[in-house]
């Protein structure tokens, strides 16, 4: 077990950048996103025996992160915009890295989607999972995933089109 546990740790470490990216499409700010990744890593290590040999470690971890986000979501507050002045400080990167406004813009648009559409968009468009993998992470049939993805995309498209008005 010792060596397989070390394998799992290495695997998780290798996936941390992707888990952080996924979390950033769900959480309000960088801090909350990294909290989600931390919860995911803790839960994965505590439940290592639940990982079946035939199961993809990535799908398993993304599924844990998705569940953690849904659990945390009970306390989530919906606001008009992620660009609310009081939120800006925690959403903007440090002096060295800064933040690309394009990322802020897309995070803001994603946050306006219903949770299930947002997950579908994040898993397929951002994380590049196939429809089948994304459906399995979300625990729904592929048809359900496809229709959520289509609706989420349509909503995003209209929010992001150059001709749309002020988003608020």
């Amino acid at each position: 077990m010792g060596s397989s546990s070390e394998d799992l740790r290495d695997h998780i470490i290798g996936l941390l950048p992707r888990l952080r990216r996924f979390a950033r499409s769900l959480a309000r700010n960088i801090q909350d996103a990294d909290d989600l990744v931390q919860i995911t890593a803790e839960r994965a290590l505590a439940r290592a025996e639940q990982l079946r040999p035939d199961h993809s470690v990535a799908s398993w971890l993304f599924g844990i992160l998705r569940n953690a986000w849904i659990d945390e979501g009970r306390s989530r507050r919906r606001r008009e915009s992620l660009l609310e002045p009081e939120d800006l400080a925690e959403r903007v990167g440090d002096p060295a890295g800064g933040t690309d406004p394009e990322l802020l813009c897309l995070q803001d648009a994603l946050s306006r989607l219903p949770d299930e559409q947002r997950l579908a968009v994040a898993l397929v468009l951002i994380e590049g999972f196939s429809y089948k993998e994304a459906a399995s992470i979300m625990g729904v049939p592929v048809g359900t995933l496809t229709s959520r993805l289509a609706r989420g995309r349509e909503a995003l498209q209209s929010m992001l089109s150059e001709t749309s008005g002020v988003l608020s």
């Binding site: 952080r20 505590a46 290592a48 897309l106 468009l125 995309r153 008005g165």
Partner: protein
Amino acid sequence: MTFPDEVLMAYADDELDARTRAAVEAAMASDPEIARRIAQHKALRSRVHSAFNKVLEEPVPARLLKVVRSNPSGPHKNNVVPLHRRPVRRWAWQQWTAVAASLIVGLIAGRFALVRSRVAGPIVMRGGRVIAGGMLADALSDQLVATQSAAGPVRIGVSFRSKAGEYCRTFALARPAPLAGVACRAGDDWRVRVLARTEWTTGGGADTYRQAASPMPPAVTAAVGNLIAGEPLDAQAEATARGQHWRP
């Protein structure tokens, strides 16, 4: 032949079987509307993907690496070591009272917030782009480096022409948070190109931005380096540009 949008989306995501894919490709060749919708799906996918890809380049915070390296694995193997858990919050009545009190305050404050939120914040989104709003937009359009007040809420750093020919200006804000960035003129808007946290030192009772003590954040300096064509504008060139409403 017509296809439901879900099929065109699946084509853009490379999720169709060979036969349906061939049928879509045949239709695409004869129907520009189908080709346009597929291109739109692909463009959205690539826009979202490339924006979030930047997260992959960020260094992974040490606290995450530490959790993965040192947290015990498995529930049975390490019974001796308690798992690191976030403390479950159990609230005492004092806290519930505090919550109730803050809700009442919130209700009162909410009435004012409604009024306040009509004033645009410094960073707003329009047409899928992040642009300067409110006092930041005003400062970018009106403030000259040579004559700006040291006590104002926005400080302009340098103005310059970008390689694309547009006028760009660096700025620093004290409120709502100490932020700095670069904005470039696009039509009647100032499109924000980069944002970063910065220092805004408080001295002598009033907020003063000490440029010497706290220079532009490296992210802003780097963005200027990438955007700038030639030298920054001098005072006269800046005044002229303002006179022309920053149109190239």
